[in-house]
């Protein structure tokens, strides 16, 4: 009997595996393969080692010419199929060869996505998919080594492929920059902590990683070759080659043109059959149960199923969970399954900051459902196995995270982060005391906090480093030392606010994920308590470079208005020092009418509040107000709110100084600044104190001889009269004192701690000493404030009128009742 004919289109890894299964089963088909690539089958995964020079093409061949000959398989190389006739059951190649089939397998894989940026056709723009691409890169790398200066490569895309390409090119001596559109690398496979570790590792091998980098165009050198790229934000990066590794798209054109059902990929059922009888599809070109895969493990499972079915053994493929491992020398990274956390899930996080290890397991119903491992990933396959088997782990849950080989109970040490600090890291900023000094004090017998304090002066001033000094004591003395309890920032950490602030400084931590990793946060992405606090500490520490973490801000600070109980908003424009004018009042009256604002009220802060505004109206209202010269009054900010004034010498018969003018001057100098909690100020023209300056965070009482500066008052939850900080002879001096004390508070205050609470914690005498007696110190506080104001005084309303964060102000979609007559949402 004549053998049935099996035709395979595409000779990639998936059909390669299927053929092995078919041959194992001794099934006799007349097999013909057409492949677009001019070569035999090779292990595509190993292209990266070929690129980095660890392997050659010969090393990665899986089936050579002899193998096809021996097994009587007819392989047509460099012969792409151009069309399929499912009616006549034939395929036609580009060169006109026609072959008929009984069974057809389409395994065309996928092709790299090329973003159609201006310049994408230039010479030197490449993708990373097959051996030809690697050869192209290696040619440039050779030229790079031959030239005086290394050539430059830009890799667009910080996913698996992009990073492997970048590492390979760097290994070949090129100067590499990775551009990634998102905030963090490999965001699909990794949580932010692991992403951060990964980008650090790349920086250490001199690969520059730019995140939030949206490429606008690729630049022509003038002769049709690439010379660099330009990002949407204007940054220019020179490049001799540009590798696009932004993702893959299933290659489906052939199937689609032949009338086979295609959505994102070629649609197949659990037997890998398409909608047409005897036509199967396999590999990355396939869409199975709504999923397209981009890794080999699922494709190998599909290959087994299809081979079985072609042999007449009924078999089903039901989908796969996937695991990823980055194949870059020296970087150990593994991720598998679902690593979301949630109500019905628990997570186990292990962070070893000094060893750069981060492991996170997600459990549900005593079963492992996800794992991310960084730094030490040898247990990846073991975890993956538990995950796939749905194994019950309750028996060994306590020790699960330590991995398969875990023997005995290695205890995690909470003062590990302190232990890892070098001897010259500064612990006490006020007195300039380093860790080494404290350690030697302890070693020479000073074993209590007071003794260390007396001996070294550490923590004897503002006291915010007390917790750290205690951690060092605990680390040196172990159980012998009983530390006073530290109140942690929240349930996600055992560190208190002071420790976190100090460690951010001592270890120069620069992002939230970095802080969470280095300080061994117990949760993966924090909570609504710690995230805003960390965000504040980082803004305060690095005012010029830190990129504010928008999603760690409370809604009011994101939309620059105050949310009300019914979900509408209120807005309060600035009225400098509480002064207004007919023009301003008219503009307010106009927007109130135009936008039908239900309530207008004079606030306790000497300005006007408009309440009950729909979110969608905020931006148009700000546009109108902005035209009248208004800016945001920051009525929502952890920052400078109001500076109330009285009429002072301008009008009042008792006025001693220009209290209104000074109030306006302070407000114009300090608006836009962020502080741990809100800051309210007032200036009164005489001790009658009509602007209530003596219950404000900072208040000024004008007197004949100058200005009395008060601080640390409140009239909210607690009522506290201010304390006198000192006397100033001139307005300039008063301003310097005010700014300096606010800056000191900014640098030391715990997030959400009002100024009066900070001052009672740190001590009035200490503050007075630093601000009034130590003039150099005061000047330095003042200068630091001024430096950070350079970037702070941008009106957020104007920015939003110009289009910033537009998504925040409108719903994603409104499905109108006109279009949908009756509709019920599924539970």
């Amino acid at each position: 009997m004549k053998k049935e004919s099996l035709v395979i289109v595409g000779n990639g890894m998936a059909p390669g595996r299927m053929l092995e299964h078919l041959l194992d089963n001794n099934l006799s088909y007349d097999i013909t393969i057409f492949n677009a690539e001019p070569r035999v089958n090779y292990n595509r995964l190993m292209l990266s080692p070929v690129l980095s020079g660890e392997k050659t093409y010969e090393d990665i061949i899986t089936h050579d010419d002899d193998w096809y000959k021996k097994n009587d398989i007819n392989l047509h190389k460099a012969e792409p199929i151009a069309s399929i006739s499912t009616e006549n059951k034939t395929v036609t190649s580009k060169n006109g060869k026609v072959v008929s089939y009984d069974k057809l397998v389409i395994a065309t894989g996928s092709s790299p996505i090329i973003i159609p940026l201006p310049g994408h056709q230039l010479d030197g723009v490449m993708t990373y998919r097959d051996l030809d691409d690697v050869d192209r890169m290696l040619t440039v790398a050779a030229a790079s080594r031959a030239s005086k200066e290394p050539l430059k490569a830009v890799v667009i895309g910080g996913g698996l492929l992009g990073l492997e390409a970048a590492a390979g090119l760097a290994e070949q001596g090129m100067q590499v920059t990775v551009l990634h559109l998102m905030d963090t690398l490999m965001e699909k496979q990794l949580d932010p902590s692991a992403s951060w570790l990964l980008s650090e590792a790349f920086k250490h091998r001199d690969v520059a990683v730019l995140t939030n980098a949206d490429t606008e165009k690729i630049v022509d050198r003038g002769d049709g070759a690439v010379s660099g790229v330009i990002l949407k934000d204007g940054r220019k990066i020179p490049a001799d080659i540009v590798v696009m590794a932004v993702g893959i798209r299933p290659s489906t054109t052939l199937a689609k043109d032949s009338g086979i059902e295609v959505e994102r990929g070629i649609v197949v059922d659990d037997q890998m059959q398409t909608n047409i009888l005897d036509v199967y599809a396999l590999g990355e070109c396939v869409q199975h149960r709504d999923t397209c895969y981009g890794l080999v493990a699922p494709l190998f499972e599909m290959a087994k199923t299809l081979a079985d079915n072609l042999c007449g053994t009924e078999s089903s493929y039901t989908g796969s969970v996937t695991a990823t491992r980055l194949k870059v020398n020296g970087i150990d990274l593994y991720s598998a399954g679902d690593f979301n956390d949630g109500a019905d899930r628990q997570e186990i996080v292990l962070r070893d900051a000094s060893a750069g290890v981060y492991k996170r397991l997600v459990l549900k119903d005593n079963k492992l459902i996800g794992a991310v491992l960084y730094g030490e990933a040898s247990d990846g396959p073991w975890f993956f196995d538990l995950l796939k088997k749905d194994a019950d782990i309750s028996e060994f849950r306590e020790t699960l995270i330590f991995g398969q080989a875990y023997q005995g109970g290695a205890q995690l040490n909470p003062s590990e982060a302190v232990a890892a600090l070098t001897d010259d890291s500064e612990i006490c900023g006020c007195n300039g005391i380093c860790k080494g000094t404290i350690v030697s004090a302890i070693e020479s017998g000073h074993t209590t906090l007071d003794a260390v304090r007396a001996q070294t002066k550490a923590s004897s001033s503002c006291g915010t480093c007390t917790g750290l000094v205690e951690q060092i004591l605990t680390w040196k003395l172990g159980d012998e030392y009983e530390a006073a309890a530290i109140t942690p920032v929240c349930g996600c950490t055992h560190y208190g606010h002071d420790e976190v602030r100090h460690l951010i400084r001592a270890k120069s931590l620069r992002t939230i994920p970095q802080v969470m990793q280095e300080l061994e946060w117990k949760t993966s992405c924090g909570c609504a308590k710690c995230r805003p606090a960390l965000n504040y500490y980082l803004v305060c520490e690095y005012p010029a470079d830190y990129k504010d973490d928008y999603q760690s801000r409370f809604i009011n600070e994101r939309v620059h208005a105050n949310i009300q109980k019914d979900g509408t908003y209120s807005i309060v424009p600035r009225m400098w020092g509480g002064q207004t004018s007919s023009k301003q009042l008219r503009a307010i009256a106009d927007v109130v009418d135009k936008f039908r604002i239900p309530t207008v009220k004079v606030t306790g802060g000497q300005r006007i509040d408009m309440l009950g505004i729909q979110k969608e109206d905020l931006v148009p209202i700000w546009r109108d107000l902005g035209e009248a010269g208004f800016v945001s009054g920051h009525a929502y900010a952890k920052g400078l709110r109001t500076v109330k004034t009285c009429v002072g010498t301008d009008w009042c018969r008792f006025g001693t100084q220009d209290s209104t003018g000074l109030g306006v001057r302070i407000e114009k100098f300090m608006w836009g600044s962020w502080t741990p909690a809100k800051v309210k100020m007032a200036v009164s023209g005489c001790p009658r104190n009509c602007s209530e300056a003596t219950c404000k965070d900072v208040g000024v009482i004008c007197v004949d001889s100058g200005f009395e500066v008060h601080y640390a008052g409140a009239a909210g939850l607690d009522i506290k009269g201010t304390q006198v900080l000192g006397h100033a002879n001139t307005e300039d001096e008063a301003l310097e004192i005010i700014v300096a004390v606010v800056q000191m508070y900014r640098e030391q205050g715990h997030y959400l701690e009002r100024m009066y609470k900070w001052s009672s914690r740190v001590g009035h005498e200490e503050i007075k000493q630093q601000i009034m007696e130590n003039k150099d110190k005061r000047k330095r506080y003042f200068d630091r404030f001024v430096a950070s104001q350079k970037i702070a005084q941008v009106d957020p309303w104007t920015e939003r009128v110009a289009g910033k964060d537009r998504h925040e102000f409108m719903p994603l979609t409104v499905v109108s009742p006109a279009k949908v007559t009756h509709l019920e949402v599924v539970r």
């Binding site: 956390d341 949760t523 928008y550 801000r553 949908v820 599924v826």
Partner: protein
């Protein structure tokens, strides 16, 4: 509800929702919040806090939860249940992602010819 009766209503692109952020959709008279977690899961729940009706889509997203902006109840995005000592539940809805687009599962959808 059986799988077959679900219709999928396209809402927008996956990237329209910022990581650890949310967007609101309005469906007839109902408001629904769509949330994206750190690990890029999308959830849909009614945009109405079980406490006093606060707009959950304005809250801070962490883990698979959102903290209500009005009085800080923490609501699970998966189950819609209030966490901790607070008691209450909002409706949650099925979501499907395909082609980088987000779809909401609805039933009995009769679209009038356009």
């Amino acid at each position: 509800m059986t799988e077959q009766r679900i219709k999928w209503l396209e809402l927008g692109a996956f990237d329209d929702i910022p990581k650890l952020g949310s967007r609101r959709i309005e469906l007839d008279k109902m408001k629904i919040g769509l949330f994206r977690t750190a690990s890029d899961k999308i959830f849909a729940i009614e945009d109405k806090c079980p406490h006093l009706g606060g707009p959950l889509s304005e809250g801070i997203v962490h883990d698979n939860c959102v903290t209500c902006p009005l009085h800080n109840w923490v609501i699970s995005l998966e189950s819609g249940e209030a966490q901790g000592a607070d008691k209450g539940c909002v409706r949650s809805f099925p979501i499907k992602i395909a082609n980088h687009r987000i779809f909401l599962g609805v039933s009995k959808l009769h679209e009038e010819s356009a």
